[in-house]
């Protein structure tokens, strides 16, 4: 089949198409290379943090020194030299900007290139943006409107200062400081991220959104995000990511914690297009992320939706702890790996409460020489009577040099539990492509159409404003994957 043969050649040109590969020339302030207690203290003091926060960081740092990098995922990369990286980088600013007018125009230009609607008039669609530039949040929009509803949405560094008690109560309560190598590292050195608190009974009046961007070279980026929905609250949060093009690999180890109290609902969507490396597999982001949500109160619900098209390596398992009775966890995922990208991603659904339900829909698309692994755990604990899970894992292969792997773990310790797992693997069929082309649709558009159809169930979960963008991203990341 000539179509599939040519796929590889065309895929090879994809690396040149990363349109976000530019670097903003802004003076950076950096901590010295490498990691030691002094660097941790520096980060903490730069942020004017209270003593408890410094203690948490130092505790994490000491613990991390004793930990080993995990190696169980189906990803391969040269050993990371943690002593060679910078752990703190911030644009040099005279003072913290109070409004958009005070923000460095070059930063705003960067965001413009990324197509982020930062100016308030551009976000009339109801999106509040907390933009993170390397380690420092530079602008937050729509704060006032949110404050009116009682919603707190701010950089986490600010929350640590202004809402210390709330942060102290919840930070590390879902992903403990000792959780895993990357999460522990993050706990020691995280420099910024977002904080959301939606008070009891409040439906957050708009979609909240954060765009992360890695700019400085050889800088690890360690965001920390904490979202709390109090009793009966609802919030939908979207993060988007882009990184400029570089030859060296960059480390990104974020931690996201979600807490849903009784009857609360959190919808967390990610559109990730970090630089994936070039067509030879050089460069690209190493993305080792710990995301976990805790349905702490009964009848609460946490829903993860992710569209992963970027990164050289993705190691990511957004999970739900279904602690309360009658809680619901959902995971909807699209993972696209092209060229030499490696994705090992999936979810964990931990059923602790009674009548807990979880749903997993994973769509993996592999092209070029990429390897795409779904790794998921569904665990039903003894007390979780009538727990239900349905898992559906579909893989689509484009070309013959890529791979799809499905590794589901199922543990059930309650006889009334019902756990279902369905998996399919398919190729884009020649007859489907021909049907489209014979109707006038070019091959590239046809692949995008078929892949978007394949992903539809997941795309439908995204907030309306981002569904269109995500569809385009799906098309762009597969550009050139057929001849």
């Amino acid at each position: 089949m000539a179509v599939l043969q040519e796929t590889r050649e065309r895929v090879a040109s994809l690396g040149e198409k990363y349109k976000y590969g530019f670097v903003t020339d802004i003076e950076m302030e950096r901590a010295p290379r490498g990691l030691n207690e002094d660097v941790v203290r520096l980060i903490s003091s730069k942020k004017d943090e209270p003593g408890w926060m410094l203690d948490l960081r130092l505790g994490a740092y000491r613990r991390w020194r004793e930990m080993r990098e995990p190696n169980w995922a189906r990803v391969h990369y040269p050993k990371i030299d943690y002593e060679a990286a910078y752990y703190y980088a911030a644009p040099k600013l005279a003072a913290q900007p109070k409004s958009l007018d005070e923000v460095d125009p070059k930063l705003l230009e960067t965001y413009e290139k990324l197509g982020i609607p930062l100016h308030e008039q551009k976000v009339l669609a109801g999106v509040a943006v907390d933009a993170v530039f390397d380690s420092v949040s530079v602008a937050t929009t729509f704060k006032a409107k949110l404050a009116e509803a009682g919603v707190i949405f701010c950089p986490i560094s600010e929350a640590i200062r202004d809402h210390g008690e709330l942060v102290r109560r919840y930070l590390g309560s879902v992903v403990p400081v000792t959780d895993n190598f990357f999460a522990t590292l993050n706990s020691a050195v995280f420099s910024d991220g977002s904080f959301v608190y939606v008070p009891k009974g409040v439906r957050c009046p708009m979609e909240l959104s954060t765009y992360f961007r890695i700019n400085a070279s050889e800088t690890g980026q360690f965001e920390r995000t904490l979202v709390i929905a109090a009793e009966g609250a609802y919030v939908s949060y979207l993060e988007g990511c882009t990184a400029p093009k570089r030859d060296e690999n960059q480390l990104h180890a974020a931690v996201v914690e979600l807490v849903a109290l009784e009857g609360a609902e959190i919808k967390y969507s990610t559109v990730q297009n970090w630089y994936p490396g070039d067509e030879q597999g050089r460069g690209g982001i190493y993305n080792f992320v710990t995301k976990r949500g805790d349905c702490r109160g009964s009848r609460s619900k946490i829903s993860w939706t992710q569209v992963e098209t970027g990164s050289a390596i993705t190691w990511k398992y957004p999970s739900c702890i279904l602690r309360g009775d009658d809680t619901v966890g959902e995971f909807y995922s699209i993972a696209i790996a092209n060229n030499y990208q490696q994705a090992d991603t999936g979810t964990k659904m931990i059923h602790l409460g009674r009548n807990t339900r979880s749903r997993i829909v994973s769509k993996g698309i592999s092209a070029g020489k990429a390897q795409n692994t779904y790794r998921g755990l569904v665990s039903v604990h003894p007390r979780a009577a009538n727990a239900r899970n349905h898992t559906q894992c579909d893989s689509l292969l484009i070309g013959k040099d890529c791979g799809a792997h499905t590794v589901p773990y199922i543990e059930s310790r309650n006889p009334s539990a019902r756990v279902e797992h369905e998996a399919t693997t398919s190729k884009i069929a020649e007859d489907q492509l021909f049907y489209c082309t014979s109707r006038g649709i070019g091959e590239e558009e046809a692949v995008a159409l078929i892949v978007n159809g394949f992903c539809r169930e997941v795309l439908q979960q995204l907030p309306m404003e981002f569904a269109v963008e995500a569809q385009k991203l799906v098309s762009i990341s597969l550009e050139g994957s057929v001849g």
Partner: protein
């Protein structure tokens, strides 16, 4: 010059010669029927016209609107007004029928340098045609051909033909698997497009479709060659004698 000139066409599939020298001319406004038993090369002819991969041209040529048709990829042939109604329309999960129709129509318009139509205008066009073909609107919201009955799939092919208004429509056994009411519906759709500007190549195994779509010329295909050609009465003769009888006469 004819709209379509097929000259001594030889086509092989996986190294085996299926069409062994076909010559056929279709003028603007004409309807031609190609009849033949299973395995005679009917579908090979239709796929070759549409440009499907895997059909190697081992001899001859096809000139369409004065151009070398074989040099064009399928999507360019479609944009230039060539349409193939498939014998077995393909399912595409997750892509709604409406979305597919819009994408196809606009891809063709774009290629011709025409303005694309917005969703509302496409919907208006499609609705009108769907009503004529008795296609329920609910079907347009379902994934393309997924879970459609054989009759629904064929009617959707005719709807596409009506929407694209091709200069040359090739209908590959559009009647197969249809009951008589469905055949009448399909034929009405086809006849509605019969104008001095629109030509058709109707490929069929049975004569019955030709009661409803009356052809100007009939060509009988057997083992990769035309063994008999004539007016519409040839179809009736064929019905009476059978393919075997006709092939014997020709030999």
């Amino acid at each position: 010059m004819s709209l379509l000139d097929i000259e001594d066409l030889h086509v092989a599939v996986e190294g085996r010669e299926i069409l062994k020298g076909i010559t056929l001319s279709i003028d603007a406004g004409e309807v031609h029927a190609v009849m033949g038993p299973n395995g005679s090369g009917k579908s090979t002819l239709s796929y070759t016209l549409a440009g499907r991969e895997g059909y190697q041209i081992t001899g001859g040529r096809i000139v369409y609107k004065g151009e070398d048709l074989l040099a064009l990829p399928p999507e360019e042939r479609a944009a230039k007004g060539l349409f193939l109604a498939l014998q077995y329309p393909v399912e595409i999960p997750g892509v709604t029928t409406m979305n597919f129709l819009k994408a196809s129509l606009n891809a063709q318009r774009r290629a011709r340098g025409e303005k694309e139509l917005d969703a509302i205008n496409v919907l208006r066009l499609v609705r009108e045609m769907a009503a004529q073909l008795k296609i329920p609107e609910e079907m347009l919201r379902r994934a393309l051909n997924v879970g459609f009955s054989g009759g629904e799939k064929k009617r959707l092919e005719i709807l596409q033909m009506a929407l694209f208004r091709p200069t040359l429509a090739v209908l590959d056994e559009t009647d197969s698997g249809l009951d008589i009411d469905a055949i009448k519906l399909v034929a009405e759709g086809v006849n509605a497009l019969r104008t001095p500007e629109h030509s058709m190549l109707v490929i069929t195994h049975y004569q019955r479709l030709l009661n409803h779509i009356v052809p100007d010329r009939v060509h009988v295909l057997a083992d990769g060659r035309f063994v008999a050609e004539g007016g519409k009465e040839l179809a009736l003769e064929l019905e009476a004698k059978g393919y075997a009888g006709l092939a014997r006469n020709a030999a």
